[in-house]
Symmetry: C2
DNA sequence: GTCTATATCATGATAGAC
DNA sequence: GTCTATCATGATATAGAC
C-alpha cells in the first residue's frame, strides 16, 4: 500500500500488474489483452491477478482508480486556486482551460511513471466505453464535471449552456488526439515528426482549445429547436 | 456486387455481414467482436464469413474499404470544386475545413445506411490502430492527406507547417468526439441532451474547428527547437 | 503470497455433406 | 453458396500444494 511511486520498475506485485495492464490496455484494448499477456509482461504468476484483484474487470477498474482520483483532485485544486484569486468574479476561459487541460497535459507529460500511458488510455476509453467502464467513469467524474461546467457557464454568459457542454466535449476530443500524439499523426505526415516534447505540445494545444472555445457562434438560430426552459442544473 | 444500397436491410449475405460487423466493431472493438456475434446479428451462417472474406482480418479491411474510398473521393471532389472556384488563389481556411469535415459530417449524418456508425468506427480506430489496420489506413489516406495539407499550407502561410499538421490532428480529434456524440457527452451532462440533429452538430462543430485552426500562435518560440530545415514535402 | 495444474468455455478456422 | 460438425487453441477462473 505504499504510495512511494518509485521510478520505472515497481517491486510490488500489485503495482507491477497495474503497470503492465495499463500499457497493454492502451495498445490492444481491454478485451484483446489477456491475463497471460499482463502477467507475462509483469513477470508475475498468472494466478496473481485473481488473487490480488479478484477478476479481470476489477483489475480494469483499479487501473483507472489508481490515477484518476488523484488527477481529478488536482484538476479541482487548480480550479480552486484560480477561484480564490478571482474572489467571486467569474474566471477567464483560459484559466478554466488551464485548470482542466493543463493538469491533464501535465500528467500526460509524465512518461517515466506511466502518466502518459494512462492519459492515452483514458482518452481512448472515453469514446469506447464498455458498459461497466462507462458506469465507473461516470462516478469518478461526478464531482469534477459540475464544477467545471458551472465555471464555464459563468465565464461565458453569452454562450448557450448546451453549446458550452459540446465545446468542452470537442476540447476533450482534441486533447485525446493530442496525447495519442505522434503515433496517429505519423499516419498523416510524410516526414518524421519531432519527439513529443510535453511543453511544446501544451504550447500547441492550448491556443487551439481556447480558439475553439471562444469561437463566434454559428450565424442564425443557435437555439432553433427551443424546447421550453432548457437550462443546465 | 450490386452497389444499389437499399435502405436498412441488405439481402445480400456479404453486405449483411459487413453491416453487422461494422456496428459490432464500434461497440466492442475488433478483437472483442467474435465471428459468432457477427453472423448471429447478420442472420447468416458462421462459416459464411470465411467463405466470403477468407478471414476475420480480411473482413475488417473490407468494412473500411467499403465506405472509406468513397468518402475520400468525396472529400477530394469537394476540394476540387473550391479550388476550381478560386482559380489558383489560395483557399480560405473555412473552405478547406468545409471540404474535409463537412463531407465527413455529411456521412456521419446518414444514420439509415450506416454512415454514422462507420464514422464512429473510423474515429475510434484512428487512435487505436491494430498494426495491420494502421497500415491499411495509411494506404487509404495516402492520396487525400497531401492534398489537404498543401491546401492548408497555402491558406495559412504564416503558420509553421508542423503547427498546421497538429491542428489538423486536433480537428480530427474534436470531430471524432463530436460524432461519438451524445453517448459520451451524456456522461458529463446531468440532464438529457437533445437528439443529435446532424445540422445542429455541424453548426456546433464547424465554428469550433475554425476557431482552433485560426487561433493565434502561442507567444514565444513556436520553433524553439530548430533542427535544420524542417519543411514539409 | 506464490506457484502448478486443471476445469470450463469461447474463439477462429476448416472439412465435407448438401 | 449454405449448413453441420469439429479441431486446435487460448481465454478466465479456481483448487490445492507449498
Amino acid at each position: 500500500m505504499t504510495r512511494t511511486a518509485d521510478l520505472r520498475q515497481h517491486t510490488d506485485t500489485r503495482e507491477r500488474i497495474l503497470d503492465a495492464a495499463e500499457s497493454l490496455f492502451v495498445d490492444h484494448g481491454f478485451e484483446a489483452t489477456s491475463m497471460r499477456m499482463i502477467t507475462g509482461r509483469a513477470g508475475v504468476n498468472l494466478a496473481s491477478i485473481n488473487y490480488h484483484f479478484g477478476s479481470k474487470d476489477a483489475l480494469i477498474q483499479n487501473v483507472f482508480r489508481r490515477r484518476l482520483t488523484w488527477l481529478n483532485q488536482e484538476r479541482l485544486h487548480a480550479l480552486d486556486r484560480f477561484e480564490a484569486e478571482a474572489k467571486g468574479a467569474p474566471l477567464k476561459p483560459h484559466q478554466i482551460v488551464e485548470a482542466f487541460f493543463g493538469v491533464s497535459l501535465c500528467m500526460a507529460a509524465d512518461t517515466e511513471r506511466g502518466g502518459h500511458t494512462f492519459m492515452r488510455l483514458l482518452g481512448r476509453t472515453y469514446t469506447e466505453p464498455t458498459a461497466f467502464v462507462r458506469q465507473f467513469l461516470a462516478e469518478e467524474y461526478a464531482v469534477v464535471v459540475p464544477r467545471f461546467k458551472q465555471a464555464l457557464l459563468r465565464s461565458l454568459p453569452d454562450v448557450p449552456p448546451d453549446e458550452i457542454l459540446w465545446r468542452f466535449h470537442f476540447m476533450l476530443g482534441a486533447m485525446s488526439y493530442a496525447i495519442a500524439g505522434t503515433d496517429a499523426l505519423q499516419l498523416m505526415a510524410e516526414y518524421e515528426l519531432e519527439e513529443t516534447d510535453p511543453e511544446a505540445l501544451s504550447r500547441r494545444l492550448m491556443p487551439f482549445l481556447l480558439g475553439g472555445l471562444r469561437a463566434p457562434l454559428a450565424g442564425h438560430a443557435g437555439k432553433a429547436k427551443e424546447k421550453g426552459s432548457r437550462r443546465a442544473v
